[in-house]
Symmetry: C2
């Protein structure tokens, strides 16, 4: 399930000048484009709607997302895949995991053979209830490029594809071929702060160390600090689990359980993240870094997290349906909790083991309505004590 | 310097009924007393002032600290060491590290031979400028019990004694004898929340596993969850370093650098904590638990941390002298930063190595006035990138 074909060191010659294609005009794609734009690197953003492309090209800002932040004139937008992809040196994939397979299958013919993909699972602004519309729109429209930033798209999943339980690495390799170099950006990185030029540190994980180093050199600058790693699984698992922990932390806050309880819950959540990652082949130290503990810090305590906000509202007694209905935004952690439980049960069965993840399971059961946030958190807090078991 | 005399499994018979002495009537001592009180365990708090003892005995609350929270009637206070100590089954030491040596030397004759000490470095409400008064008061007054909660005491140090660079374990063993069983409580645990009965999880670390288990059983309850560990050094180092990280996180906030930057800084701070602990003989996993990452979560992001607040005010441009002068509270991290740098330099020299701790050093230099918070944080953010080095 988790593809692990080892990449050899890159010998790919870089086209000159370097040019990036960004797939998806959501906040995070725009934020990364803005970083490259400030370095005068040409970027073409592939968006779905002609009027959005025109607006970006004319006004150098997106009409909806981060619309108060102007983009460098080297950033262009188009709705035509060939135009964005043909001579791209790097492709940034900023499309939610959940639609990535179909999306990538559709654009695969236009993706140059040797161009590496830099995947980021940071997505934003989705409408849960429009998934049916999305399915209808997509069928038979090969050239339709779906912007992940538009409300008319299905519920997002950060990190794990529903049904197949694949992570982005698997989806990329299955749709674009097994010999393609891929990298995965993660870390505490709210899009708005990046676009404002505030200091942000991320990890670029790739099985190709050469690609990770290239990304570090080309994308990095004085405020966008790119560290490298070869632990793709660790980085992907961290990105998925942290959103579920953030929902739990938010519920803690909404219920007024205090800082002590929240800090304890988040710490135990990070331990679940580490254990899960380790069980899937990651290195435990990865999860103590930016893509694990770091991203969890930002997501659980920063004011910008949708997942935490979902938890806070649930903790305060709002109904899940009302929260989802009142917002065009959906927290990735909502769907991820369900997929993670499926993934854990699948791997537990496969390896005949019984690893337990009470926080991930607890959040899922609260989201299912099987228990209230107060009941669920009470059970989580009644954690069995004795040796502080960080049984990695 | 770090005593590591291995304790054998305890065979000490417990006096019946169990009775606790709490040394120091500060917020944390009171909070732990309240936990025991709710379990109907008799507690005697040793305080300095007769009127404080009388107030507690009459009104079942401290006149100054957590004064809105009533204590169980089984909690008594006294100013007479013998009365508190003579038949105590356990002694909770809630006196700041900085005064602990002198304090313990003075009460040593009254401490029963086999009674274990449970140390907590949680201290509160100190006045930086009154250290001279303190020295004056203490000299020659063997029976003077100094409450750590009173403003008339010297600048507190969490975890490391100025000059000797000893941690609490060394001080306890040197003053009360090498054969005494000791344990160390740590974790995200704001005193007010404990006293209010909000869920809190802590670690009791002791080289005697039997003692740690006893503490878990006797002090633990449905809202005060006590995990156990045998890694005393790890727990002590975590408790010291987290306050320095919190000052850095606060400066980040005060300077408006954003959540991404703060999360990255805290993550790197946790890595410094792990590396330092490891270099002093701790187990790295301890620092991923409640006493490391967990306590850092609470301290950096909770609203109750004096260390974070000190950083916020520094970041907003206030002068250190003005902050210290305007408050009777002093953040432990202030003095700890200086002691940690000395400790690092001492161990680097001893082991002929050059371990680097940019955040600890950076905070110290800002506190010394060698650079402004903006300059210091800018340098910290210009972290060299490449492989995400968690070089434990």
């Amino acid at each position: 399930m988790l593809a692990s074909a080892r990449r050899s060191r890159s010998t790919r010659p870089l086209p000159y000048p370097v040019r990036f294609a960004v797939l998806g005009g959501g906040s995070f794609g725009l934020a990364l484009a803005s970083v490259l734009g400030k370095k005068s690197i040409p970027v073409t953003i592939l968006v779905r709607k002609e009027d959005v492309a025109e607006h970006i090209n004319l006004h150098h800002r997106h009409p909806t997302y981060l619309s108060d932040i102007s983009l460098a004139p080297t950033i262009r937008a188009t709705t035509i895949p060939e135009e964005a992809l043909n001579d791209a040196s790097f492709i940034i994939h900023a499309v939610p995991v959940q639609y990535s397979r179909k999306f990538l299958e559709d654009i695969a013919p236009h993706v140059p053979k040797n161009t590496p993909i830099i995947s980021t699972s940071k997505v934003s602004y989705h409408c849960w209830f429009s998934s049916l519309c999305y399915s209808f729109l997509f069928v038979g429209r090969l050239n339709l490029i779906l912007s992940p930033s538009l409300p008319s798209c299905p519920p997002p999943l950060q990190g794990i594809e529903t049904g197949t339980l694949c992570m982005m690495q698997d989806i990329l390799l299955e749709t674009l071929g097994p010999n393609r170099e891929t990298a995965y950006l993660s870390g505490p990185s709210f899009a708005r702060e990046i676009a404002l030029g505030l200091v942000t540190a991320v990890v670029a994980a790739s099985e190709s160390e050469a690609l990770a180093n290239e990304i570090c050199d080309i994308m990095g600058c004085n405020y966008f600090r790119v560290f490298t790693s070869t632990d793709v699984v660790g980085v992907e698992v961290g990105g998925a689990v942290k959103n579920v922990i953030a929902i739990a932390a938010g519920m803690c806050e909404g219920l007024g359980l205090g800082t002590n309880a929240m800090a304890a819950l988040v710490t135990r959540g990070c331990n679940e993240m580490q254990r899960l990652a380790l069980s899937l082949g990651a290195r435990p130290t990865t999860l103590t870094g930016l893509s694990g503990v770091g991203d969890t810090f930002g997501t659980c305590f920063g004011p910008l997290s949708r997942n935490r906000n979902l938890g806070v509202r649930l903790g305060k007694g709002e109904k899940l349906e009302d929260i989802l209905g009142s917002s065009t935004e959906v927290a990735e952690g909502h769907a991820t909790a369900f997929s993670l439980v499926q993934l854990i049960e699948k791997t537990n069965r496969a390896y005949r083991r019984e690893l337990e993840f009470p926080i991930i399971y607890g959040v899922k059961e609260i989201l299912e309505g099987k228990r209230t946030p107060a009941e669920g958190l009470r059970d989580l807090m009644a954690m069995p004590v004795r040796v502080e078991m960080w049984n990695l």
